[in-house]
């Protein structure tokens, strides 16, 4: 070890020696957990209600574009249709940093929802391991083992405001990001045929920007009945490609009955 390294170690020791009194890591941990749970609950509820909001925002995108009327009309109608009936949904998020998959940030969720009846249930697999149910005017948020729940009145779950996404899209929800596009330009074009189990359809591509640096692009696939089947959106910073996040929403079982029950009362407590 050379002198410069030795001196640097000394400086770092000095730089950490003036720890103020009053920092209680363990005591503060409970409060930090409460804040985290509340935030995640809002995000979970946001996913459920947010699918609707995302689709609604996407409609706005199409209406602000200069794309051809047939593509606009088809996509707009399909997305509107999604808002009016029950559906199942799987969501997959992949997140790359410097070209490498970030395992702590990616994940998948499944959702069944009936927007008209304000019923929904979502389950997100590890690392975001949690379940959220919306029923009876409350949203219930589970712990990772599913045997304890905290409930929040739906009325208290204010939508997470859009904004500041020009600086960061790391923690943003799809509806936030798409809402940003209301004020931005985007284009929509037909991009070929597509098919899946029991359906055939057409894929439409869209592209826009969030702020000045983040490019948003993706596809909306519409089946022969005019229903949205797959909604893919990718966010990237083209200047350095450091962050690339892709979310895939796959819709199925339109019109299928959705049943959601509240968790057992003895396992439930109000969220602090």
């Amino acid at each position: 070890m050379n002198d410069e390294e030795t001196e640097t170690r000394h400086l770092f020791a000095v730089a950490t020696a003036d720890r103020p009194a009053g920092i209680d890591l363990l005591g503060g941990f409970a409060a930090a957990r409460r804040r985290d749970r509340s935030r995640r609950a809002r995000r979970g509820a946001g996913l459920l209600a947010g699918v609707t909001a995302a689709v609604a925002a996407a409609i706005t995108i199409t209406l602000t574009t200069g794309s051809t009327p047939p593509a606009l009309a088809t996509v707009t109608s399909a997305l509107s249709s999604t808002l009016s009936q029950s559906y199942h949904l799987s969501q997959q998020t992949t997140y790359y940093v410097n070209g490498q998959l970030n395992h702590t940030a990616h994940g998948s969720c499944t959702v069944e929802a009936d927007p008209a009846r304000q019923l929904s249930q979502s389950h997100c697999s590890p690392p975001n391991n949690y379940t959220v149910r919306q029923v009876g005017g409350y949203t219930y948020y589970s712990n990772s083992t599913g045997d304890r729940w905290e409930r929040v009145p739906d009325a208290d779950l204010h939508p997470v405001p859009a904004g500041n996404l020009k600086n960061s899209f790391i923690a943003a929800t799809p509806q936030q990001l798409l809402a940003e596009l209301k004020q931005e330009s985007a284009t929509v074009t037909a991009a070929g045929s597509a098919s899946g189990p029991g359906w055939t359809g057409t894929r439409y591509a869209f592209r826009g920007t969030v702020g000045k640096v983040t490019v948003l692009s993706g596809t909306v696939t519409v089946d022969q009945h005019g229903q949205t089947r797959v909604f893919v959106v990718t966010f990237r910073n083209p200047s350095n490609n450091v962050l690339v996040m892709t979310q895939v929403f796959t819709f199925s079982d339109y019109g299928a009955p959705v049943t959601v029950t509240a968790p057992p009362a003895d396992q439930t407590s109000p969220m602090p």
């Binding site: 410069e4 030795t6 640097t8 730089a15 020696a17 890591l25 503060g28 941990f29 990772s144 600086n167």
Partner: protein
């Protein structure tokens, strides 16, 4: 605290202070360091049932802290552009330890964040180059380069006089 795993609580009691000090070098002030450690502990706790059997909580927590700090940095990047030199107000004298502590922390904040992370992981947390490289997602050669440049930059920022005064 009754619903918190006792082994997790013991880990925080045992290792929390070390990570708090790593955090203050990362962030530059104690309040931000406390926030960073708390946020990272919450994430660690989610993985705790799996980690405590076969994982290394220190390595995992360091990774979380670096990633969390990086995400905070990105969220604030427009407001936190490295200035390249210290503001005159922080060029305080070296008369007491607190002034020096603050000055070193602020000098670290002037460095590019990757250099800063390499310096504190190498020379405060005492991690080998390979482990730092793995944690930061770069090559050991890059770590070596960042360390070399970081040491040189720190010396320039804090002033050669300080190093020479200590006989280096």
């Amino acid at each position: 605290m009754t619903d918190i795993d006792e082994r997790f609580a013991a880990y925080v009691r045992d290792r929390g202070e070390h990570h708090l000090r790593v955090a203050v070098l990362l962030t530059g002030d104690w309040h931000a360091a406390e926030d960073l450690v708390q946020a990272s502990l919450v994430k660690l706790y989610r993985a705790w049932p799996k980690l405590r059997l076969d994982g290394d909580p220190d390595a995992y927590l360091r990774q979380i802290m670096v990633n969390t700090r990086r995400s905070w940095w990105r969220a604030r990047w427009r407001r936190e552009t490295p200035a390249g030199q210290l503001p005159e107000t922080v060029i305080a004298d070296f008369a007491d330890g607190q002034a020096l502590a603050a000055q070193v922390r602020q000098a670290l904040q002037v460095l590019p964040r990757q250099q800063r992370a390499v310096l504190l992981l190498r020379y405060y947390a005492d991690l080998p180059e390979a482990e730092v490289a793995d944690l930061l997602g770069c090559s050991p050669g890059t770590v070596k380069t960042h360390a070399h440049r970081g040491l040189r930059a720190l010396r320039e920022i804090l002033g050669k006089d300080h190093y020479e005064r200590r006989g280096n």
